[in-house]
Symmetry: C2
Subunit: 146 residues, 2 copies
């Protein structure tokens, strides 16, 4: 699938990568605390995944959500799997703030404001540490395949 | 939480209701095959749910996705938990078609077209039957609490 952007090596920072998924920090959209969980294999829809891969995916989504809450203290978490333009399983997990550029609308709506938001190096480093250590703990507890 | 619209009895058709969740057919947005999975209890974020309720939620999301694919044969499935305006756990599970009013953008983006789409009575009846029977089967297999 050479024309699928998610089948290529991402240009955005990879915070964690396992056998089946990777977690990428979305830094190009003026939103703080925005991660993407990307399946490594090219599969269009979630229901096409095996039960074991789906369970891994759900566990990673849970770990990502907790990590974002712990580090970014957002007003709301948004989670979405759309993929209309890129039909390759991936999730957007987004920290939302009442002051962000889109609130209370979705990040795919027209922006209401046009302010600049960036993750600090400390936030990125804490996020990477938290994700890695939570996933490692699951590895030990559940023989998580990553 | 009297000012939370999801804490009220929905005005949209309820296709299934259990102890913890209900499945509602979204009929007021000119989109075919659009369901909402709503937690009955007022909780803001998914990570605040118990592991058992999260597992039920994930299983229901899977059943909903399969049911929509079987009955509506969409070009893509979109799944999202936003709740910025209504911070009460609920998921949008949406059948997307290349000809729908928003494709390839999200259903929260500006519409590209303005056509009328409605579920047929047969589709609604098949959907209700499929959801109910898949959930009942899980009940039997996994003592699903609904």
């Amino acid at each position: 699938m050479s024309d699928c952007s998610l089948c290529k090596v991402p240009t955005l920072p990879i915070l964690w990568s396992g056998h089946n998924f990777r977690i990428v920090l979305v830094t190009d959209q003026n939103i703080k605390g925005y991660l993407r969980l990307e399946l490594l294999e090219h599969v269009s829809e979630i229901h096409q995944l095996s039960e074991s891969i789906r369970q891994q995916m759900n566990l990673l989504l849970h770990i990502i959500e907790i990590s974002l809450v712990n580090i970014f203290h957002p007003d709301k978490i948004n989670i979405a799997s759309l993929g209309n333009m890129t039909p390759h399983v991936h999730w957007h997990i987004v920290s939302r703030y009442k002051q962000d550029n889109f609130f209370p609308d979705s990040i795919w709506s027209n922006p209401a404001r046009n302010n600049r938001f960036e993750n600090t190096q400390e936030e990125i480093s804490n996020l990477k540490h938290q994700l890695t250590s939570m996933i490692k703990q699951q590895d030990a507890e559940q023989a998580f395949d990553s």
